[in-house]
């Protein structure tokens, strides 16, 4: 299994894709900076608080990395089917389902770690910026951290689970556009659900429910679609 993992990382040059992760985090920071400067420059606008800025960070980071994970799913999995390299891959002495599962676990881990990394960078950035330029309402308190860490970890787990949905739909159609569009739909649906909760975050029941439904869909796809070559 470790051997297959290494092969996938080498084949798709995943270390190089870390550059994209850094760029995506930089994009999130830039977006936050523009938003903060805008609220500072306009005297009629009230300054953002740490809480509201943290929610924006959560939204941005999950948006960027869920879309990125769907692009990875397309590259690592769906393209193998659409470009027919899967016929070669499946003619090797390997367990076919395990091979695809490894690819997907790699994507899920990559997504979750990238989201956590995004949170750490963006939160550190706003704390630093506020310390230097007093950009936010109030001052940073260490008590925020315990709340933020819990929310960031929950968000990383949920997005890791949700990153399987582009795979599920993409495998049904064996189509790259379907994979990427699914990530947008998933994001939209998640946003609709969490904005109705007070903390703008999934509760334990929602996390478990999402996990169960996702597992059911993934099991069906693994049973019916993964080994099927048209």
């Amino acid at each position: 299994m470790a051997h297959l993992l290494k092969l996938e990382i080498r084949k798709f040059r995943l270390p190089r894709k870390m550059i994209t992760t850094f760029l995506a985090v930089a994009f999130c920071m830039l977006f936050i900076t523009v938003s903060l400067i805008d609220s500072m420059a306009d005297p009629e606008q009230t300054k953002d608080t740490f809480e509201s800025t943290f929610l924006v960070i959560g939204l941005l980071v999950s948006l960027v990395f869920l879309i990125y994970s769907s692009i990875l799913t397309s590259t690592l999995v769906i393209n193998e089917y659409s470009q027919r390299t899967i016929t070669i891959l499946f003619s090797y002495p390997l367990n076919k389902r395990l091979l695809i599962a490894i690819k997907m676990m790699l994507i899920m881990a990559f997504t979750a770690i990238s989201i956590l990394f995004g949170y750490v960078c963006c939160c550190g950035y706003i704390i630093g910026m506020d310390y230097a330029f007093d950009m936010l309402e109030g001052s940073f308190q260490t008590a925020y951290l315990s709340q933020w860490v819990a929310m960031a970890v929950t968000s990383a787990i949920v997005c890791g689970i949700l990153s399987w949905w582009p795979f599920v739909i993409g495998m049904i159609r064996k189509s790259v556009p379907a994979t990427i569009v699914t990530s947008l739909i998933v994001l939209f649906a998640r946003q609709l659900i969490i904005t109705k909760t007070p903390a703008n975050q999934e509760n334990l029941f929602q996390v478990v429910f999402t996990l169960m439904v996702t597992l059911a869909a993934v099991t069906i796809v693994f049973r019916e679609k993964v080994t099927k070559i048209d």
Binding site: K11, Q83, T87, I88, Y92
Partner: protein, 304 residues
């Protein structure tokens, strides 16, 4: 004789249409088996089933004497293959693609990569991305990949597609060498019958999903008798004259205008003289030979 591939009543349907129909295939160890049939006959589907890429609806497959099932994939270590078109990771170089193949197959002799690149005449372009290869070059690289891990069995689906005549000859010699030097069993499909005829020990003819015949190439050659073909405006009279005057018994009236005489001890000159003397109009006359192509068409027509 030990069979390296054997199938029993192998059947597969797609959307209600039977594409492989109770096929009983037998490939002996160490032979080159030519698998011939028209497009859509079921050749590629059978090859995919042998590689566990497609699951049969019913029937059994034995490879290396072991019954194949979904969970059995270790036998694939002993097989090299080309299925459909030559597929590669296009952004990678030819060399990287072959290295990756070694890694997946668990084959560690990296020097062998350079050797096979030389064998297929791609030694100077290993570092070029596959996306810049021509179709012929990709086909050569696919052959290199198939033989890289020194497989005991090669399953090659139309391996000489897209190759120029020189390339076809090179590959024919290469397959012959692999067969002779390493005893590799080769199961090869091709629609170029003359090529199959030159390398195969036995052939299997498939049409409409049914395996019509498995026959050794020596037996096919027995069918390749010479004959004289006559184009005439009066086949009845011509046949009558040939029977009575020349005592010829192996006469085949093909259609309203064509007669074939098998095993004739008379010359074409004598026959034309006889027919003209008796007022039979003669369009053409000449010696011909039944080829594998004729044999193939006869079988497939009978099959239909």
């Amino acid at each position: 004789m030990e069979h390296i591939i054997a199938t029993s009543n192998l059947t597969k349907s797609y959307k209600g249409k039977v594409v492989v129909d109770k096929v009983n295939l037998h490939v002996k160890k160490g032979e080159i088996y030519g698998f011939v049939g028209p497009n859509g006959a079921g050749k590629s589907t059978i090859m995919k089933m042998l590689l566990n890429l497609v699951r049969p609806d019913s029937g059994e497959i034995y490879v290396f004497g072991e019954k194949m099932d979904d969970k059995n994939y270790e036998y694939l270590k002993r097989i090299g293959c080309i299925i459909e078109n030559p597929y590669f990771y296009e952004k990678m170089t030819g060399l990287q693609n072959l290295e990756l193949h070694c890694d997946y197959m668990g084959y560690h002799d990296r020097r062998r990569i350079r050797d096979v690149m030389e064998l297929v005449n791609l030694q100077n372009i290993e570092e070029k991305a596959v996306s810049h290869y021509s179709l012929g070059m990709k086909q050569r690289l696919a052959i290199a990949r198939a033989i890289l891990a020194k497989p005991e069995l090669l399953i090659l689906d139309e391996p000489i597609n897209a190759l120029d005549p020189e390339g076809i000859k090179e590959m024919r010699l290469l397959f012959g060498r692999l067969h002779q030097d390493y005893g590799t069993t080769i199961f090869i499909s091709s629609h170029i019958l003359s090529e199959v005829e030159q390398i195969a020990d036995r052939i299997g003819v498939i049409a409409g999903g049914k395996l019509l015949k498995e026959i050794s190439i020596h037996e096919v050659h027995e069918y390749q008798t010479e004959y004289i073909e006559i184009n005439t405006d009066n086949v009845k009279l011509a046949a009558c004259l040939l029977e009575q005057d020349k005592r010829l018994s192996h006469i085949d009236v093909v259609d309203d205008a064509v007669i074939r005489i098998y095993g004739a001890a008379v010359s074409g000159k004598e026959i034309s003289a006889l027919l003209i003397k008796n007022g039979v109009g003669l369009e053409s006359i000449g010696r011909k030979e039944n080829s594998l192509e004729d044999y193939f068409f006869r079988l497939t027509e009978e099959g239909e």
